[in-house]
């Protein structure tokens, strides 16, 4: 029988499609629903130390080929997230706890709690383009990132992944720093810093003015990052950005991704996107006589 199972840094996933952070990931019940819809694993909303309201609305702009969002990292904070994890775990798929913080110590504290709550891995959000003091503001400096990875690795026994930003020319340097510090995987990409302006209102639409571009518009950027990362580091890569079909997943895997995440397509295509993609992947594997998806990871690098 064809299996879509993949191994991601030691975690077994029933299929390579993970829910991306920030989409339906704030509450246990919504995470559970995504598991039921067929996702191979779940990444939580990026959780911080304290509850945060996020930015006032508008927090989202819809474009023909994607979204620009500036939610502002809303979330209940790590304490309250315990009960959400309890519920989410009923989905019986690995849960990756996404975390944001400004300094290594806070990342360590958060990661420890996430491990206690039963997370299968940690994803460090070093890449949010629109929250002051967090995310990409720390994620563009290889040294700072190395320090964070070292600290978090020292504090937990589960795999630690770093989610990186494409908004820098230093992506590969940062990724090498993650690998050197013992990080277990790279997740790429987070959103591309962008903006939308209303001509009638003569002002930026988003409350935060700038936000992050996601969806099909950024697929080419994500593919390029994954392809370049595959050539630069040996740890596994998780591809994210504009994935809406099994073909998109195959492109990412051929570029070098061991697994993928899906965010915007949940809004644009609906929750059925997970099962539809898995169906398409299975068909592809049968047609091409593959026994494991591992066989296609990185094949686009051969010449």
């Amino acid at each position: 029988m064809t299996t879509l199972e993949v191994d991601l840094a030691g975690i077994r996933l029933r299929n390579p499609t993970l829910l991306a952070s920030g989409v339906m990931g704030e509450t246990g019940d919504s995470l559970l629903r995504v598991a039921e819809a067929g996702a191979g694993g779940l990444v939580t909303k990026s959780i911080g130390l304290e509850p945060r309201k996020g930015y006032p609305n508008p927090t989202l702009v819809e474009l023909p080929d994607g979204y620009i969002n500036a939610m502002g990292l809303p979330g209940p904070g790590i304490e309250a997230f315990a009960e959400e994890m309890e519920v989410a775990k009923k989905g019986n798929v690995p849960i990756i706890g996404s975390l944001f913080a400004a300094v290594p110590e806070d990342f360590t504290t958060l990661a420890g709690k996430m491990e206690d709550y039963g997370a299968a891995a940690i994803e460090l959000n070093l890449s949010c383009p629109h929250a002051k003091g967090y995310g990409m503001e720390v994620g563009i400096d290889p040294e700072a990132v190395g320090t964070i990875i070292t600290s978090v690795k020292g504090a937990v026994t589960i795999p630690v992944m770093a989610k990186l930003t494409p908004n820098t020319h230093r992506l590969l340097d940062v990724a090498r720093a993650v690998e050197a510090a013992g990080g277990d995987a790279i997740v790429a990409i987070n959103t591309v810093k962008a903006m939308a302006i209303s001509v009638e209102a003569r002002r930026p639409i988003l409350y935060n003015r700038t936000g992050g571009l996601s969806g099909p518009a950024v697929k080419g950027v994500g593919l390029r990052c994954v392809y370049e990362l595959h050539g630069a580091v040996k740890i596994p890569i998780v591809g994210v950005g504009g994935i809406e079909s099994s073909r998109d997943v195959l492109e990412y895997m051929m570029a070098g991704a061991s697994a993928v995440q899906i965010g915007s397509a949940v809004g644009r295509r609906g929750l059925k996107v997970f099962s539809e993609i898995c169906h398409g992947l299975t068909e592809y594997m049968i047609a091409n006589k593959h026994r494991s998806l591992k066989e296609i990871v990185g094949v686009a690098h051969a010449r």
């Binding site: 919504s30 559970l32 927090t59 819809e62 939610m71 209102a201």
Partner: protein, 256 residues
Amino acid sequence: MLVETRVRERIESGKGITTLIFEAPMAARPGQFVMVWIPGVDEIPMSLSHIGGHAGITVKEVGEATLALSNLRPGDMVGLRGPYGNGWKLDAKRILAVGGGVGMAPIIPAVEAVGDRGRVDVAIGARNAGEIIFEERARAASSDVRVTTDDGSHGLKGTVVALADAMMKEKRYDMVLGCGPEVMNRFLLKACVENNVPCQLSLERLMKCGSGLCGSCVIDGLRVCADGPVFTGEQVLGMKEFGKCKRDDAGLRVKL
């Protein structure tokens, strides 16, 4: 996609309840909603009380954004995105539509869409006469429209749920549509179960993205914006959080 449009007409539909008709058209199903951006203020969900030719909403003043909306004048600009959500299913043979207060906003396009005065009855309720809206539109589209107010200032005195319960006992319906405050929805659901009539309820939760992404509007695992806002009675019966708690801006549970 954001549609930048202007207020074409402003109608005071009731006390503290204002209808805004926009220049932009909006092809939508009854029960769907739009995210309304008031530049410099906020962006909030509003049911479409008018669909087709010109989009229209009916807003009750409850806080900063609804106040700003209510004060808009013809020519003022707003941004609309949508329509979002599923809307009502209107294929039942005999429908009772129940609206509480501004809950009539998503109900009235459904009543009009049935397109057969004999197939749909309407129960309208509010605290007092000033808050009864769309009674005339309802009478134009239905041959049995009844009204209640808490203080008896217009129509029967009592709650709209009591009225709906009486109507269900008096006539045979095979579908109830309901929209109002969550406590009204809760009792209406109870009445429907007791009278063994299936129902659909339009629910509300805090909305940010409106597009099924952020998860801020969930009741249990269901997104009001993308899986609702209209849910079947069975779905609502299965909701642990319905009538009990909601989520705040940070995603923390708050008691209702």
